[in-house]
């Protein structure tokens, strides 16, 4: 990052250059540096999970498989799922972008508990390392859902125990981040920044943090119980000791369904920011969007049973869970309509973050609407555990969340690094990601409707075409992601263009009151609250110099 050194803002050095040396990074309590470290590790986990995914897709080129053995295939999809869910999608936006952006948007010097924030990073890192260790000790073939009795069978090696500890640690990292975010939003706002002056990204992170704090402990408890069941045979989950495997499924989904909202809510927060800034208009229906985040967080706790419609759960429990699941669709629909209304009569600027957001609308649309087939009982019964489900949750978790993550990384990249990424490469990547994604996952809906179950190392020949198209799509998607990564990293080199403080003309504090990159203390003087979507106070100087506050000078 040496070239970035010169890009310091006012105040004699940015957070990137205020201290030097590896130690100053590893022991930092600066939320910005912690956010950057998270971003680095999280991108690493995305690459790792992606390599597993490509191996899976290559294996499925032929119905009989052939690239690897069934056992290796099972280990690959287990680690693909576990790494992507626990290490990339869940922490991705809150820990990397949230950590960097939240204190800036709230006008604070740092999060409320900076040391806890660093602890949270190392817990996450320890969890990630333990997942890698399971690879070394022979891998794990339980599926990321870890259902007993299969996952806790007596013949299993160390892999499962290490993975359970890894899940436990990653979970604590998530809880601590949630605590920090809630405390920061409550206590560190400028006195004149009311709740309804918060940027919607903060509302989204706030709703996310509530879920992190309330749901993640259940995951930790479940992992601990599983650990003890395996060693002490307590008789909780294993029928042979008098336990009940379906109880594990309840515990697991009581966390893991809300976890879907831990993933998607911050993504929606990014979309709210970007769609407003790149339409040059205040977000439409601010309060409805903010409250729908909270509604999703609350209703999201009451729908876990829809993962268990064929588990032997009572019929009437199924009917109630189905009803609640249908309800949770509404707040998401409200958000989509509000985003569209925000663009109405605006001035739509088609830069990379906005291109990603536009593709988010279509992909989240498909992801959300296909959820209706799985919330409705009659259609879930045949589709459950088929490729329809695989396609559905990839549309939500990969399509929507990863695309919003990419929008967010491009959007805040100038703030994080002080450099502008290459717009042409960004555009190409956004288009390729959109095409590659749809090419990969739309055929999987067809396989699922046709009756192809998930987690199959071999499959019936009638599904060959869909599988091959899907494999080709996976490589197109990979190409898009590689180009995005290259475009971002290349901007750090000598040719990278310096970013002004406010290149997009955004009104929230990280753009309107902090340098790019920000100084160690974020703001030279404590900022006053602003209306985050009032763009009338900004004036564009030039493409290079960006936007300034109309009344005064650039910060």
């Amino acid at each position: 990052m040496s070239a970035v050194e010169h890009g310091a803002g006012a105040g004699g050095g940015s957070y990137l250059t205020s201290e030097r040396g590896l130690r100053s990074w590893l022991l930092t309590v600066d939320h910005k540096r912690i956010g950057v470290m998270y971003l680095g590790v999280i991108v690493g986990t995305l690459i790792l999970g992606g390599v597993f995914a490509l191996a899976l897709r290559l294996h499925l080129w032929n119905p009989a498989g052939g690239l690897v053995s069934n056992d290796t295939y099972n280990k690959l999809f287990t680690l693909h799922g576990a790494v992507m869910v626990f290490l990339f999608v869940i922490p991705g936006i809150p820990s990397a972008l949230g950590n960097f952006v939240l204190p800036l948007q709230v006008g604070a010097k740092d999060v409320a508990f900076p040391r806890v924030n660093l602890l949270s990073f190392y817990l996450y890192l320890a969890g990630a390392v333990l997942f890698l260790v399971t690879l070394v000790v022979g891998g794990l073939d339980t599926g990321w859902t870890l259902y007993p009795p299969y996952s806790l069978e007596g013949s299993r090696g160390l892999g499962i125990l290490i993975a359970l500890v890894g899940v436990f640690l990653a979970g604590f990292s998530s809880i601590l981040t949630g605590v920090n975010f809630i405390a920061t939003i409550h206590k560190l706002r400028p006195p004149d920044m009311g709740w309804f002056d918060l940027p919607l990204f903060l509302w989204a992170l706030y709703a996310t943090a509530i879920i992190q704090i309330l749901a993640t402990p259940v995951l930790g408890i479940t992992a601990a119980l599983g650990f003890m069941e395996r060693i002490f045979h307590l008789g909780i989950f294993m029928p042979e000791y008098g336990g009940d495997p379906v109880l594990f499924q309840h515990f697991f989904w009581f966390y893991s369904h809300p976890a879907v909202y831990i993933m998607i809510l911050p993504a929606m927060g990014i979309v709210s920011e970007v769609v407003s800034v790149f339409s040059r208009k205040p977000i439409f229906g601010y309060r409805f969007i903010a409250m729908s985040s909270l509604a999703i967080a609350v209703i999201g706790f009451l729908v876990w049973g829809h993962h268990m419609f064929v588990s032997g759960q009572s019929r009437w429990a199924n009917v109630i869970f189905s009803f609640l699941t249908m309800l949770v669709a509404i707040p998401s629909a409200i958000k989509v309509f509000n985003w569209l209304a925000t663009m109405y009569k605006g001035v739509i600027i088609l830069k990379t973050p906005m291109l990603y957001v536009l593709s988010f609308f279509a992909i989240f649309g498909v992801g959300g609407l296909t959820g209706l087939f799985l919330g409705a009982l009659a259609t879930d019964i045949p589709l459950h555990d088929t490729y329809f489900v695989v396609a559905h949750f990839h549309f939500v978790m990969v399509g929507a969340v990863m695309i919003a993550f990419l929008a967010g990384v491009h959007y805040w990249w100038p703030k994080m690094t002080g450099r502008m990424y290459d717009e042409r490469l960004g555009t190409i990547s956004a288009v390729l990601v959109f095409l590659g994604f749809n090419l990969t996952f739309i055929p999987q809906f067809l396989s699922g409707i046709g009756g192809m179950p998930r987690r199959y190392a071999t499959y019936a020949a009638e599904f060959t075409t869909q599988n091959r198209v899907s494999t080709v799509g996976a490589f197109v998607l990979t190409a898009g992601l590689v180009i995005a990564l290259y475009g971002l990293l290349a901007s750090l080199g000598r040719s990278g263009r310096r970013a002004p403080a406010n290149p997009w003309g955004a009104a929230s504090l990280e753009w309107s009151a902090a340098a790019s990159p920000p100084s160690h203390h974020n703001f030279d003087t404590p900022p006053r609250g602003v209306r985050p979507y009032d763009f009338s106070v900004l004036r564009k100087v030039s493409e290079e110099a960006g936007w300034v506050n109309a009344g005064g000078e650039a910060p």
């Binding site: 009795p149 495997p245 509404i330 109405y344 009569k345 088609l350 279509a362 009982l377 009659a378």
Partner: protein, 325 residues
């Protein structure tokens, strides 16, 4: 189930166009619900994409367009409208789907189902048919309702027949049920849809739907093994394990309840509540007798661990003692 008149119904079913054959009585109902959700979703998605594209084209930044036009930043009436319409639509989906679901999980009223006991294991299926024939494939008769009672000897499996639109997990330590009435003769695949290890994708079997009872009987008669039927095995175990010492088989009183005519009864429990004597209650009363004791009896019985196969035999025997209506 009819949702709509002819042409519209055809449209509903044609929607996805990628369904397997409809071989059970509920398949058409499922596909109607699928078609309804499909078309609502397709129209919604088309609207979202169309509005996005139109707005991007009309309002994109260009030389002649640098400043946004005035427009409201909220409208409660609009917000309530676009909250209310989706709410209405998903409630219709919920109602249609739940109606079909209740049909999918019960025997048609007024008809008796033939019971088949299913045992799942890594990585095969075993079917104990009502007439005592055990087989690796499931055999049923066209138009006759079937009730499957599923158990597993090792991990969770799931029985899935795409052409029936039905699926049910087989969970170790308890029994689950699945109901269907075949409406198409032929052979259809049974797949495992709950991940169960190495050969999960090869845990396959067939369900054979016979044209008529005669065809089924011909199959059932061929190569019948000389081994004891499940009921006879159960009767033998009931004696060998000492059950008969406390539970009489002829209705006379004993230390525990008699098993004559016990099956299907609703029993009052110590500490209140009732239990229906079915597969799961019998299983629980054998492996953990103290949990739910019939009122009027003491907690005297020790837990008796049984192999899965033996458990199924004892259950089959108790079932055979059910009082004929």
């Amino acid at each position: 189930m009819t949702l709509a008149p002819g042409p519209l119904q055809a449209l509903l079913l044609a929607g996805p166009g990628y369904m397997p054959e409809r071989a059970s009585s509920v398949a058409a109902g499922v596909d109607h619900v699928f078609g309804f959700i499909f078309w609502v979703s397709a129209v919604s998605l088309a609207l979202i994409v169309a509005v996005t594209l139109v707005f991007v084209f009309r309002y994109r930044a260009r030389a002649s367009r640098q400043v946004p036009e005035a427009s409201p930043d909220h409208s409660t009436r609009l917000e309530l409208t676009w909250s209310g319409i989706p709410l209405l639509l998903v409630m219709v989906m919920f109602a249609l789907s739940t109606k079909v679901y209740l049909e999918m999980t019960s025997t048609p009223p007024g008809q008796a189902a033939t019971q088949v006991k299913v045992t799942a294991r890594k990585w095969s299926w075993w079917f104990d048919h009502a007439d005592g024939k055990g087989a690796k494939s499931l055999h049923v008769v066209l138009g006759k309702p079937v009730e499957l009672v599923l158990g597993s000897v090792d991990v969770v499996h799931s029985l899935y027949v795409p052409q029936f639109r039905l699926k049910q997990d087989a969970v170790p330590g308890r029994y689950t049920r699945m109901f269907f009435t075949p409406v198409m003769a032929g052979t259809f695949p049974i797949l495992c849809t709950e991940y169960c290890g190495t050969n999960h994708s090869q845990m396959l079997a067939d369900v054979v739907v016979h044209e008529d009872q005669a065809s089924y009987d011909a199959w059932a008669a061929e190569g019948r093994s000389p081994a004891l039927s499940l009921v006879d095995q159960g009767r033998k175990l009931f004696d060998e394990k000492g059950c008969s010492a406390c539970h009489s088989e002829d209705g006379s009183a004993g230390i525990g309840p008699t098993v004559k005519g016990l099956w299907g009864k609703s029993e009052k429990l110590v500490g209140g509540g009732t239990a229906t004597v079915d597969e799961n209650y019998v299983r629980e009363s054998i492996v953990a007798p103290a949990r739910r004791i019939v009122a009027g009896y003491d907690d005297l019985m020790p837990p008796i661990p049984l192999e899965e196969r033996d458990m199924l035999a004892v259950i089959a025997y108790l079932q055979s003692l059910k009082e004929k209506p």
